[in-house]
Amino acid sequence: MGVPAVSEIATTVVEREFGELALNMGPQHPSTHGVLRLVLHLSGETVVRAVPSIGYLHRGVEKLAEHLAYDQLPPVFERDDYLAPTANSHGFVIAAEALGKIEVPRRARWLRAWVAEWQRVASHLVWLGTLGLDLGGALGGGTTLYMYCFREREKILDLMESLTGTRFHTNFNMIGGARYDLDAATAARSQALAAEIGAALPSLAAMSGETPIFRERTRGVGVIPRELALSIGVTGPVLRGSGVAFDVRRAAPYDAYGELDFEVPVRAACDAEARFQVRMDEIAQSLALVRRIGDGLPSGPIFSRKPLKNPKATKLPAGEAYAAVESPRGELGFHIVSEGGPKPYRLKINAPSFRNLQVVPHVLPGGLVADVVAILGSLDPVMGDVDR
């Protein structure tokens, strides 16, 4: 599938040319996870063809990056994938450090992993809640699941507030280290919270994956065969739900992950249920990781250089570098091209949501309209990440 032709997304043309009902799903639709627009060619309620039309949330972040200093960029990128803000700045600072060959103290590397894992839990809780909304509706059991997911997520935001003073866009990662240090009280709170959310997980599963209707709605729906997943290049839980054990944390360890012991959950069923199970396992894994990091957190400084007088002072040498992190949605990479100086010449973001969304035209046909929302929910795209 290349760029969709106008004749495929203009509904009146579709109806004239193909003789099918063309349904504009989005950009304003409760279940397209933001401003995704899908043009569904329907025969009855069966989807014959699905043409995604994106760009409604394009903010030109990559162009913007060429005009801002490196030190100004992390908070800008945190608005890309707005369900996992710190994952974006994490990917950027790692790429910048790779380009500048900047040393990061061990404690900062562990702290970044700690924040990243909490971010993964928080993001997956939003995913589970919104999947509930997709499957159960705002006027049904979906909202109930959503509310309980958000109750748990709220505690994570409170934890981040006690670490950084900000609940969500924490601006925690910075080139060369971490901005905030973890005090003993917050560390103890984190350990207790990991146990608390771990104890709440079974009840969330009981409201979702263990109910027969949820299982019927997701099992065998949206099958992405292993070959298709590899040829399209889907990533993250979507790839691992298709039986490919690829995780950036394992394949190209960054920060503390080389020293940490964790499992990469994989399912071979390739359907929406498999992706659901992968993410549920990842929540448990991330909680275990958070506790492990809290137990083994090394002491020392959290920033490698002397405090900068000018907050825009970081200069990177000429050259280019690519580095990626495993964001909650998959491989999130930053490619920086520098000509020296305080600003990038060109910056490219390899966004996991964009890669995962490309599978949509392949898996939606043949399903019903109700399957469309189930599949989209299982892909967990964030439009801020897709359009950037």
Binding site: S31, G140, E216, R217
Partner: protein
């Protein structure tokens, strides 16, 4: 002349009582849902627990702009909400409130009630078709495919109490339960009551069978183009319809106005109706939505055979004496 006054007065009374109860059912639903979801629900409008919230909602909906899409079929578009709300309210007129007393006591009042309850679907179809909106159209198609087919097991399940009572008069049906509620009859009672409850979810458009509204798929489906007072009528009609079905269930399965004499019969009737309504809400706010093919399979392969079997069993029970 006098008879007319009585008729108008009593229907105004029924309408007023029914509409007030319907308005407060929205408040009840929001409170029940909030409790299930670890929230508080309406609280600010009216001192104890936002008891004025329904009035505020009505006022808000009344002053909203009333929009008719240019491409809509104006006659059907305006008729839709009326067709939803009127039959649902007419149904209440058949519900017996005391021994031998019902606003309308007809030998076939039971059949009339079910017929009027089904009529609301016509209004929804009119709305879905006339809106000239694809989401509304899909909702109308789902209505034809699904809710119409859920009518069959529902009527068959409702025939079981009628068979056991040997009458289609609702007052007779209640009197026949003086010894034992029909829902308490071993197996046949429970089976038909369960089938009725499931079909009521589909009829009342409640999750897991709220495929007509399915706002996560079809946005707001048949009422997507409606605003202001017409939307308010849909809203009221939906609650009135659900409440009417709950009143029917309470009457034919749970002994209607029967109960210990310390309270008047009408209080027992309302208590049972509201209890059944809360059960519907409980199911609604717990479960995810089914897909259209799964809902149809459940209907044709499970509910319909089960309802026919319970009807046969009831016939055998009656024939045996």
């Amino acid at each position: 002349m006098n008879a007319w006054l009585v008729a108008i007065g009593s229907s105004a009374l029924v309408l007023g009582v029914a509409m007030t109860i319907v308005a407060y059912m929205t408040w009840l639903e929001r409170k029940v849902a909030a409790r299930m979801q670890n929230r508080i629900g309406p609280y600010e409008v009216g001192a104890p627990h936002g008891w004025l919230q329904p009035l505020a909602d009505i006022a808000k909906l009344l002053v909203k702009e009333d929009i008719t899409p240019r491409a809509a079929d104006v006659l059907l578009f305006n008729l839709g909400p009326v067709l939803v709300v009127v039959p649902a309210l007419v149904g209440f007129a058949f519900v017996p409130v005391a021994a031998g007393v019902a606003p309308v006591d007809h030998p076939y009042s039971f059949l009339f009630f079910t017929a009027f309850a089904s009529l609301t679907l016509l209004g929804i179809f009119a709305a879905g078709w006339s809106s000239n909106n694809k989401y509304a159209l899909l909702s109308a198609l789902r209505l034809v495919a699904m809710v119409a087919s859920y009518e069959i097991p529902m009527i068959v399940a409702l025939l079981v109490p009628a068979l056991l009572a040997g009458s289609f008069r609702l007052t007779d049906l209640v009197e026949a339960q003086r010894g034992l509620w029909f829902a308490a009859y071993p197996l046949i009672g429970q089976a038909s009551f369960g089938i009725f409850l499931l079909c009521a979810l589909a009829e009342g458009n409640k999750s897991p069978l709220d495929l007509l509204e399915a706002e996560s798929e079809l946005v707001a489906a048949y009422n997507v183009e409606y605003s202001g007072i017409k939307f308010a009528l849909f809203y009221a009609g939906e609650y009135a319809h659900t409440l009417a079905i709950c009143a029917l269930g309470a009457t034919v399965f749970l002994g209607g106005y029967l109960g210990p004499a310390l309270l008047p019969g009408v209080v027992w009737l309302i208590a049972k109706t509201v209890a059944l309504f809360v059960v519907v809400l409980w199911i609604r706010w717990s479960l995810m939505r089914m897909r259209i093919d799964q809902a149809l399979r459940l209907n044709w392969l499970v509910l319909l055979p089960a309802s026919l079997a319970s009807l046969l069993a009831a016939a055998w029970w009656v024939a045996r004496g």
